[in-house]
């Protein structure tokens, strides 16, 4: 059992345990902090899968930007355990049944599908140089369209969040 396998199992256990804590913890601030742990674990998986650029992007965009935005909004609204809405007991049961059944189907389907293991040795396909070349040759149209998407999202957020109308 080498270092990569040990890291794989540690990161997997960390991801699933932190995801459970996100859903189960009552305080929204604790949920956000556990979600940041999930993002760190998933970023570690990206490094193990030779996607070094995505590791950085995931950390900066998710853990750095989006989660700080969530944290600001939660603190702005002064949410804590007392203001957490009361939830129906039956809703919880329905959530467990729905999620559990779907997950059972997924796992059964995955189990019956034989996956062949073709692990390539070369580890520099996810580096920034190759990624930039592919991004500005094959993927230049979606890239520019996503900039338009960001512009419209920014305008929409400002218009919706404006005080008074």
């Amino acid at each position: 059992m080498n270092v990569t396998e040990i890291l794989f199992w540690i990161l997997s256990a960390l991801a699933i345990a932190s995801a459970l804590m996100v859903v189960l913890s009552k305080n929204p601030v604790h949920s956000v902090l556990w979600l940041i742990m999930v993002f760190f674990a998933i970023s570690g998986h990206y490094i193990l899968l030779n996607a070094q650029f995505l590791f950085i992007v995931n950390l900066i965009v998710y853990a750095g930007a989006i989660m700080v935005l969530f944290l600001f909004v939660i603190m702005l609204m002064n949410l804590n355990t007392d203001t957490e809405p009361q939830k129906n007991k039956w809703l919880k049961v329905a959530g467990v049944v729905a999620g559990g059944c779907l997950m059972l189907v997924f796992v059964a389907a995955l189990k019956s599908s034989g996956t062949q293991q073709v692990q390539m040795g070369e580890g520099n396909i996810g580096l920034i140089e190759n990624l930039g070349k592919a991004l500005f040759n094959e993927y230049v149209l979606p890239f520019e369209i996503s900039s338009v998407l960001f512009l419209s999202a920014m305008v929409g957020a400002v218009v919706i969040g404006k005080k008074g109308d």
């Binding site: 699933i16 979600l35 930007a65 989006i66 203001t83 796992v107 073709v118 692990q119 990624l131």
Partner: protein
């Protein structure tokens, strides 16, 4: 111990996905529902990267799908948080059960 491979990654991704679905169905707080959606998007990203590595290691299509999913998630979070702030201003709460005017 088994060698970790594509199957294990797919199992972890499925587990994260359904933890997210459970959170989305049971929490009534809009911000935690949004966080469950982020969890679902991340499990899908992990799937894309795993398939890119194990099925088609010379190409980068899965990586670019993940990059665009991250971009769309950022835009979605910005707009959703603007909506949540607006809702909080008009209702003084972000419980989804209190925002039911469109129901009738």
């Amino acid at each position: 111990m088994m060698q970790p491979g594509l199957y294990h990654l797919l199992f972890i991704s499925a587990a994260l996905f359904f933890i997210g679905v459970y959170g989305f169905l049971t929490r009534r707080n809009l911000i935690t529902m949004l966080m469950s959606v982020e969890l679902i998007l991340n499990s899908v990203n992990l799937n894309f990267i795993a398939f890119n590595k194990y099925v088609w290691p010379q190409r980068l299509d899965g990586v670019f799908f993940t990059v665009f999913v991250i971009a769309i998630a950022a835009a979605e979070a910005a707009v959703a948080i603007a909506i949540i702030i607006n809702l909080y201003r008009s209702h003084q709460s972000i419980d989804v059960e209190n925002a039911e005017e469109l129901k009738y």
